[in-house]
Subunit: 319 residues, 2 copies
């Protein structure tokens, strides 16, 4: 069968046929009741899961390869935020029909990013039902480099990798968004190398999926808050060209989400070395504010006035 | 909030509030970008995932606690078939609405079985969308006890734990099915202790989720087949009382699925010691046939006539 309708077992066979990269630590791969692997000596195991739901996290008319890339990228981004390196992936696909063309294209995106990131697909599950794309990842990290969400201290600087707002602008502008913005929405590049460099050298770290303000709120210790300078928010050339630097753009950068950049805090004296270390990999690291002893997040415009954000991020149930 | 609609973060807080059993090997649990744990020295890690889809794997009007139990049981059964012990679980819930009553009841069933089986919930994901309940499990096994699907040899005996057909009879009989059959459908007991006893002592093993014939087919080496004696198929007292021993009942036992028993092959000389070892735990182990040098699976009635099964198990896409 090369296309069209297939049975569950034909789909599984198609997936297995594309797994060509054996790993000596993998004792049992796709096709048994469970996958079995040997963990690396001395390393902690890092596990995460994330699901994409049609019309919530992607549009059903997107190319399936983009959906496959995004499903893995969202999970890799969580490992990056822990300072971990990915090793193994499981894939739980719930599909309305056994469409082998769609699956092949989905795998193009998924396995392309898997190979680029050193991730091996070792198992999963296929079921019939409303489209739901679940990915589970297992990675590894040195116990002394685990980087958590808590640990920010008064006076720490707030920093972010890359640029903010591209994906949200792509959603806002629709067909008027150019290629760069669309790529940032559909093909985000998880910041794995940056996460490895920053791990153990910053006070806390998270990846930005729900939006800068919502994810920064997860980093704030009780009774502490943050001040952000809107003029410091890093913007891509494409975003700067597409939208003027005004409240509408700041709102996308603060609360739009889907950035998949790393957000972190670090002591001020460590900032220069961190910026330099990341710069050597070609990725920007920008100081956007600092931790203060007043609860909440205060955003200041270039003219010194305070910016009120109308939403602080995504509640997935729309409350 | 004690009931009704909640936000995503309130639901996550409800889950966290119920996790009270710390494990020293767990370095980072629910509430960070990923969970982090230390694997046990010298053991291989075993990973599996399975999803329940409404009206495919359960009825939406089932008590949520039964759904929670079943979601974990189906995954534990996969670990049992590898001879592994469960350690860690992730939970990917896609829910149509943030119904905290439903979630609480779901967790009653899920966490009840988790505690009984030594499984710790360490992370997961919540999304809004059509109901989809994904579970990912990580367990551990000694590398020399990993028990796979392949390895059956000519002349091996085919054996099954417990009894077959109860869950399928519960589906068939509906309201006429008694408590025992309903419990076997909604609250299957994964055969973890049996899997540990059998691991490394049998030639291959699988759990029966899709039906005896479909899952036995996964165990057959190329060019070999199996002969089954229908009179040997183990039936519970409840099934025997509900249905006479005839083609209809055999069909349920052969192809109904949802048994979550272990199916295995072993050399004839090892059968008595395996039956005795399992008997000491109170679980039956029944010889139902043997591996022969003729392809396919042949089922013989007590009168010596051949039984033709109209379906060999489930294709989840209904092809």
């Amino acid at each position: 069968m090369s296309s069209g309708k297939a049975t569950e077992f034909e789909l599984i066979a198609r997936i297995r046929a594309r797994l060509t990269d054996p790993d000596p630590a993998l004792l049992v791969g796709v096709g048994d009741d469970a996958a079995v692997f040997l963990p690396s000596s001395g390393l902690a195991q890092v596990a995460t899961t994330d699901s994409l739901v049609a019309d919530r996290h992607f549009h059903v008319d997107w190319p399936a390869a983009d959906v496959g890339h995004l499903a893995l990228a969202a999970n890799l981004s969580d490992l990056a935020a822990m300072g971990a390196s990915p090793r193994w992936a499981l894939l739980s696909l719930t599909l309305p029909e056994a469409d082998s063309d769609w699956l092949d294209a989905f795998l193009d995106g998924f396995l392309g990013l898997a190979e680029a990131s050193g991730t091996h697909l070792i198992g999963g599950n296929l079921a019939a039902g409303p489209l739901n794309l679940g990915v589970q990842l297992i990675g590894e990290v040195e116990p002394d480099r685990i980087t958590r969400r808590h640990g920010a201290r008064l006076g720490d600087r707030v920093l972010v990798t890359g640029t903010l707002g591209d994906a949200a602008a792509a959603l806002r502008l629709g067909d008027r968004a150019g290629d760069h913005l669309q790529q940032r929405l559909r093909r985000p590049q998880p910041r794995l190398a940056a996460g490895r460099i920053l791990a153990g050298r910053v006070s806390c770290m998270i990846d930005i999926s729900d939006g800068l303000l919502a994810d920064l709120a997860h980093l704030l210790p009780e009774h502490l808050g943050a001040e952000l300078e809107l003029s410091s928010l890093p913007a891509s050339a494409a975003l700067s060209q597409a939208m003027p630097e005004d409240d509408e753009r700041w709102r996308l950068q603060l609360a739009g989400g889907n950035d998949y950049e790393l957000l972190l805090t670090a002591a001020a004296e460590h900032v220069p070395e961190l910026v330099q270390a990341l710069g050597e990999t070609g990725l920007g690291l920008t100081e956007i504010g600092r931790i203060v002893d007043r609860e909440g997040i205060e955003c200041t415009r270039p003219d010194g006035s305070l910016f009120k954000s109308t939403r602080s991020g995504w509640d997935h149930f729309g409350n």
